[in-house]
Symmetry: D2
Subunit: 302 residues, 4 copies
Amino acid sequence: MSVTPEQQAEIDALRANPSKTLRAVSEGMEKHLYSAIPVLDHGFVRVIDYMGDDAAICQAARVSYGKGTKSVQNDEGLIRYLMRHWHSTPFEMCELKLHVKLPVFVARQWIRHRTANVNEYSARYSILDREFYIPAREALAAQSVVNNQGRGEVLSDEEAAKVLEILKGDAARCYDHYEEMISDEGQAGLAREMARMNLPANIYTQWYWKVDLHNLLHFLRLRADAHAQYEIRVYAEAICKVVADWVPFAYKAFEDYRMGAVTLSAQMVDALRRMLAGEEVTAETSGMSAREWREFEGMLKG
Amino acid sequence: MSVTPEQQAEIDALRANPSKTLRAVSEGMEKHLYSAIPVLDHGFVRVIDYMGDDAAICQAARVSYGKGTKSVQNDEGLIRYLMRHWHSTPFEMCELKLHVKLPVFVARQWIRHRTANVNEYSARYSILDREFYIPAREALAAQSVVNNQGRGEVLSDEEAAKVLEILKGDAARCYDHYEEMISDEGQAGLAREMARMNLPANIYTQWYWKVDLHNLLHFLRLRADAHAQYEIRVYAEAICKVVADWVPFAYKAFEDYRMGAVTLSAQMVDALRRMLAGEEVTAETSGMSAREWREFEGMLKG
Amino acid sequence: MSVTPEQQAEIDALRANPSKTLRAVSEGMEKHLYSAIPVLDHGFVRVIDYMGDDAAICQAARVSYGKGTKSVQNDEGLIRYLMRHWHSTPFEMCELKLHVKLPVFVARQWIRHRTANVNEYSARYSILDREFYIPAREALAAQSVVNNQGRGEVLSDEEAAKVLEILKGDAARCYDHYEEMISDEGQAGLAREMARMNLPANIYTQWYWKVDLHNLLHFLRLRADAHAQYEIRVYAEAICKVVADWVPFAYKAFEDYRMGAVTLSAQMVDALRRMLAGEEVTAETSGMSAREWREFEGMLKG
Amino acid sequence: MSVTPEQQAEIDALRANPSKTLRAVSEGMEKHLYSAIPVLDHGFVRVIDYMGDDAAICQAARVSYGKGTKSVQNDEGLIRYLMRHWHSTPFEMCELKLHVKLPVFVARQWIRHRTANVNEYSARYSILDREFYIPAREALAAQSVVNNQGRGEVLSDEEAAKVLEILKGDAARCYDHYEEMISDEGQAGLAREMARMNLPANIYTQWYWKVDLHNLLHFLRLRADAHAQYEIRVYAEAICKVVADWVPFAYKAFEDYRMGAVTLSAQMVDALRRMLAGEEVTAETSGMSAREWREFEGMLKG
């Protein structure tokens, strides 16, 4: 379970007391505030605060582009135009603050996105909780044989059982030893900043993460992608749903021009034009490497 | 005048319609929303949106430092501790969005602060207004003789009059020519993106500027400082008042530990300790250069 | 002329004295070091320093991806793979430092790229030179009638002559007045930081600009593009030639996967697949707006 | 041991072949290139590349401040002036690229410094080596009793022996299980991206880390400080020595104006001035909190 009864009571209290504000309000987002969206076995994503909405994107764009932008009749059209033509600054005018609970190995990938603000729970000051990510049976997959990274087939029952036993056993033992080392009963007690080194990467940590919409969409493009590791992808997917409720026009444009879009190289564009003109183009006559040609075929077939 | 009657009507309308929100609300900031604070002769600063308050800084810090932070009894104490010990990430959890109207030469200094989001009025798309910064009589000062940058004595009446005549005349003529070049009456009309090159640096531009509190305070430390150019300092001072209303504890800590603070070099610390121990320390025996010694004396006298 | 005889002598001296180094050396780049590549009427781009080469990109990638990357047989193949799949960090491992002389209105666009280091000539401390960008006759174009930004037809001889007369006359007069105001003969002399406000945006400034290869390529994608303003595009094109000599594999991949590439929206991909399957797709049946359909047709025809 | 004989042979080969370059060369840094400086039990820091030297800092500053800067007679004086007055951009004109091998829990602290470029060894693609940080006997210390973070007394022999046994045993067992899970002998073999979650935070990783001098000094100020965790401090100290050889003037200025400097709050400055004027100032009459007063007394005594 992700949230304790005490935490739920705190969330309920926070949700019970609306205040008045003159700021832009996104009704779709007010729904989400403070509530925990469960992710993985003990993780969650919670919206703590937000700034702006679809209209705020247009407002900023209209400062930049002045009267010219009024030729785009409405907000949705303007947002789609901005997204299609890679105008990033108006999307930076919205901001999101999340509280996330996540396994350390997921946090290590996530933090690589540098254009964000982070406050992580400190294991130098505080004692980590005994909570580890233990994958669901069906998430246990073999190393991919076609891809140096990534997963292939799901493991057999027998192999899966062995893996789960190892993960649970090692997590429990390492945590027991962590507690034993920091205990000050009958001994001095090892410093927390040292004892934490004994904890495996599936232990949960948590942080506040604040990011602007442009950089958030970039994060989602990479991490909600089918090639992302499953354990971070489920967080990205949970955030996608939140963003769809927060800024529906921007999110739809993101789906059409980023997530569902395809980039063709100069060679691919050339091959495509020849194909549309009726020419038979093959891997050999395309000017592409074998690998690129396979990727090109995949794009055309979907 | 900074704001037209139409703009004022728009501001009044925006201020007339509060909505409900579950987010953190800063009452001190709600007062400011949308209203224009006049700066210089035609400029202004307007708060468009904000995220967070003093409590949000503490909330983020307590995620990081967990139970340990509870030993600091209250929010104000915690904020002062964080500021004094250069903990920057909790302050990054607040965000401010401003609409600023400012002369181009001020904008050129301001933009050097890179950790912010900006949407500027585009003179490629749109036509700039005929509004120029013409300094107040008492702001006209001579080049400093003790400092390679900066101002010295105020100009004599006669010299000031000549300067004002030049500034007004050149601004008017350049703008007349700008209009003449872009006009499409009886001619094609030069592209706006080219014609703008004829406009002097005291023409007004405007932008939306969004920044987190940590980076904002860094900006204010440099730009509200006595060594900053007067024309950017007045913007920084206007923003200081806004921040004092928004996050009063953080702003007070900023005054005590940044604006009013003094940094002593290793040599200065050494000299000071010797002085406090009763030793007579001179420029010669201090290990400092003549320049540093002067700065040190200035710090001790205030 | 961009470079004075004194400056040329300095460049020649710098180029006359090679030193020994154990660092990665790009022979293509050594050729460029210190020399000024002329841009516009008085501007230039000079390479001051660089770090890394094509091999350095691969070296960093192989740290990340370990043995797996060896399956990509050679450096060029690896670099193309990294570019195609949007791996940005290995390209960040190369760095370039340029000295650029450019008109202020170009500098104002350029500085919007925030992920770079900049030291600009300060008109608070120093006196600007009397050098203004006066466009070549054939660069003078009318406001575009199909695009709110951008240029259309070249101006008629008569209109062009009038524009040039205005630009030259106003630049000269404003600079004369600038000199008059700061002069300390027979008067105090206005502070430089104030007098500069009288100078139009076509005056030249200069700066040192340092950037990593990933962010440089992003800059070049936007600024060497046909939609960029001519006056910044010529700088970007000059830099493109430098980069092609510095990291030839990376530059070729950039041409194929960025400059010459095309991004299709989800709707475009769908329409394309239907077309390749033999279906007749029209603007009406495509699910695209009229504007997107025109863009799509443009992509297919080239 | 940090470096294998094969790696040492590679380093020797790299160091055997100098090339000619026209770029700025720092002789002090050429000495370090490629060699591994051992840190902790299996870690190291290696200089892979650098850009610039002390003269490059001055060169950039002189672009900014023009002729005015020539009043500071020499490079060292200019660098000290820039450091003392918080001019950051000239220091950004130097760049350093390191190869670092470090325990994961140290990497997690290090990565919080966002203004840097990183390529880390990927445990999704590749198999991690069996190398764990096991602290030296004398580094094993108890939780501090005066500080919520940090270490106090060194552990007793008996307690230390128990801790070392735990750390070694758990590391060995977790790594054995890691290998067992990914093995494809007689089973499918768990995907590497999953199996890594079983590895504790003292396992070694490695990365290429590239950073400009300004941000590097900021990192060193925080991480070479006495309050930093010992395991990251030893890396910072190793880098300090490298920087001292690379840019000796800048490093000396950094020691005097950052590492050895002291910042006094507004209240502290006031108390100090009263003390120097002969007044007896006490905690009660100082306007400081008890905690601040203790810190103030500490600063004055050293």
